[in-house]
C-alpha cells in the first residue's frame, strides 16, 4: 500500500463514521427536525470524506471532477430537500422537540 492508499483508507473510515452517526441519529433522535439535522451531517460531511478518499484514487482529472460534481449535487439537493421537509412539518403543525 502506498501513502495515497493509507490516506484514502483514513478518509473512507472517517466518512463511514459520519454515516454511522447520521444513521444512529436518524433512528434515535426524537423528532423530524433533529433527525434531519443528523441526516444532513451524513450526507454532507460523510459523503465529502468518502468523495475525498475516492478522488485520491481517481484515474484522471475527469473522474475526480465527476466525483466532486456528485458531491456538490448531493449537497445542494440535501440542503433544499431538508428545508422542504422541515417546512412541510412546520406547516402541518409538528411541534419542535425541546
Amino acid at each position: 500500500m502506498t501513502l495515497t492508499d493509507y490516506a484514502t483508507a483514513c478518509l473512507l473510515i472517517l466518512g463511514g463514521i459520519f454515516f454511522l452517526a447520521g444513521t444512529v441519529g436518524l433512528l434515535r433522535f426524537p423528532d423530524v427536525y433533529t433527525r434531519l439535522h443528523a441526516l444532513t451531517k451524513a450526507d454532507n460531511v460523510g459523503l465529502g470524506f468518502i468523495m475525498a478518499g475516492l478522488v485520491l484514487q481517481a484515474e484522471s482529472w475527469l473522474a475526480a471532477g465527476k466525483l466532486l460534481l456528485i458531491w456538490l449535487l448531493v449537497l445542494f439537493a440535501s440542503a433544499s430537500v431538508s428545508y422542504l421537509i422541515a417546512r412541510r412539518a412546520l406547516n402541518k403543525g409538528i411541534r419542535i422537540w425541546m
Binding site: 449535487l73 445542494f76 439537493a77 433544499s80 428545508y83 422542504l84 417546512r87
Partner: protein, 316 residues
C-alpha cells in the same frame, strides 16, 4: 486477499437478505406511505445488487426508473388517493376458504420450486450469447455491447418497449385522467432548486445518451433523467399550456415509436429483415433512434406523473 473475498461474500449476503426483508416488509406494510418508502429503498438496494453482478446498465435503469420515477409515481398516486377516498385499508382481507388457501399454497410452492429448479440447473459458468455479441460488435454501430443488443441485435425489443410506454399513457387518458390543476407558484427554495437543477438534468441526460455508445448509459437512462426533470418542474407548480398539450405533446410521446416503426419498415424493404441496419449507417441510426426514444421516454414518464388527460372538455 482472502479477507477481501470473505468481505465480499458478507456484503453480498447482507445485500441479498436485505432485499428479501425489504420486499417482505413492502408487501406486508399496512401503511401505504411506508410501503412506498420501503419500495424505493428496495429499488436502490436492487440497483446495488445489479452493480455487484457487473450490470451497471441495469443498475442505472433500476435506480432511475425502478426507485426514482416509479417511487414518485406511487407517491403521487397515494397523494391523490388520500384526497379522493379516506385512506383506510381494510385491516384484514377477507380470508378465503380452506380449499382456496390450500390451492394457493400448492400453486405458490409449485412455482417457487420450479423457479428454484430452473436456477439450480443453470450451468455455473456460461458465456451465453456474449461471444456472439462480441464477435459482431464491429458491425453493430455501437461499442457498448448492451447498446448493441438493445438497439441493433434485439432492436424490436426496444421498439415494443416504446409501444408499451405509449400504451400506459393511452390507458391513463382513456380512463379520463385527473382534473387539470392550475399553475401555482412554488416555494422559493424549490423554485431556485429546480431552476438550478433542470439545466444540470438536461446536461446529464445528454451525457448519458451520448456515452451509451461506449459505456453504460443510453436512451432509457437518459430518458428517465430527463423525465425526472419534468417531474421536478411539475412539482414546482409548472403546468404545460393548453397548446403544448395538443399536437406537440402527442408528437413528443410518439416520435420514438414512430421512428422505430419507420426504420423497421425501411429495413424490411431494403435489408429484408426488421431493424437490420446497413453496417455503414448503423452508428448514425442508433444515435437517431436513441435521441428520439429519449424524448419520448422522458415526456411519457412526466405525463404519467402529471396524470391529466389533454382533452378535459372531451370527457364529459
Amino acid at each position: 486477499m482472502d479477507v477481501i473475498v470473505v468481505l465480499e461474500w458478507a456484503f453480498d449476503a447482507v445485500l441479498g437478505l436485505g432485499l428479501l426483508w425489504l420486499a417482505w416488509r413492502t408487501l406486508n406494510s399496512p401503511d401505504l406511505f411506508k410501503a412506498i418508502v420501503l419500495f424505493i429503498s428496495f429499488g436502490l438496494l436492487m440497483a446495488l445488487a445489479w452493480v455487484r453482478l457487473n450490470a451497471p446498465d441495469i443498475a442505472l435503469a433500476e435506480a432511475a426508473i425502478g426507485a426514482g420515477l416509479t417511487g414518485a409515481l406511487l407517491l403521487a398516486a397515494l397523494a391523490r388517493l388520500r384526497t379522493t377516498t379516506d385512506n383506510t385499508m381494510p385491516a384484514q382481507l377477507p380470508a378465503g376458504s380452506w380449499f382456496q388457501r390450500g390451492l394457493l399454497i400448492v400453486l405458490l410452492s409449485g412455482s417457487a420450486a420450479g423457479l428454484g429448479y430452473a436456477v439450480w440447473i443453470l450451468p455455473s459458468h456460461t458465456s451465453g450469447l456474449s461471444m456472439a455479441v462480441t464477435a459482431n460488435l464491429d458491425v453493430s454501430g455501437a461499442r457498448n455491447p448492451v447498446t448493441a443488443v438493445l438497439l441493433n441485435f434485439r432492436g424490436y425489443d426496444t421498439m415494443l418497449e416504446m409501444i408499451v410506454l405509449l400504451l400506459a399513457v393511452l390507458g391513463i387518458w382513456s380512463l379520463g385522467g385527473l382534473p387539470p390543476r392550475p399553475e401555482r407558484p412554488a416555494v422559493a427554495v424549490l423554485d431556485t432548486f429546480s431552476r438550478f437543477l433542470i439545466p444540470v438534468f438536461i446536461l446529464a441526460a445528454a451525457y448519458l445518451l451520448w456515452v451509451g455508445a461506449d459505456a453504460p448509459g443510453g436512451a432509457f437512462q437518459a430518458g428517465s433523467v430527463l423525465g425526472a426533470a419534468g417531474v421536478l418542474l411539475l412539482l414546482s407548480g409548472w403546468r404545460p399550456g393548453v397548446r403544448l398539450m395538443q399536437w406537440p405533446l402527442r408528437l413528443a410521446l410518439t416520435i420514438g415509436a414512430i421512428t422505430f416503426i419507420i426504420l423497421g419498415v425501411l429495413t424490411l424493404l431494403y435489408e429484408q429483415q426488421l431493424l437490420a441496419y446497413p453496417v455503414a449507417q448503423a452508428g448514425r441510426m442508433i444515435i437517431l433512434l436513441e435521441s428520439l426514444a429519449t424524448v419520448s421516454i422522458a415526456v411519457t414518464l412526466a405525463i404519467l406523473f402529471l396524470g391529466e388527460s389533454p382533452d378535459p372538455e372531451e370527457k364529459k
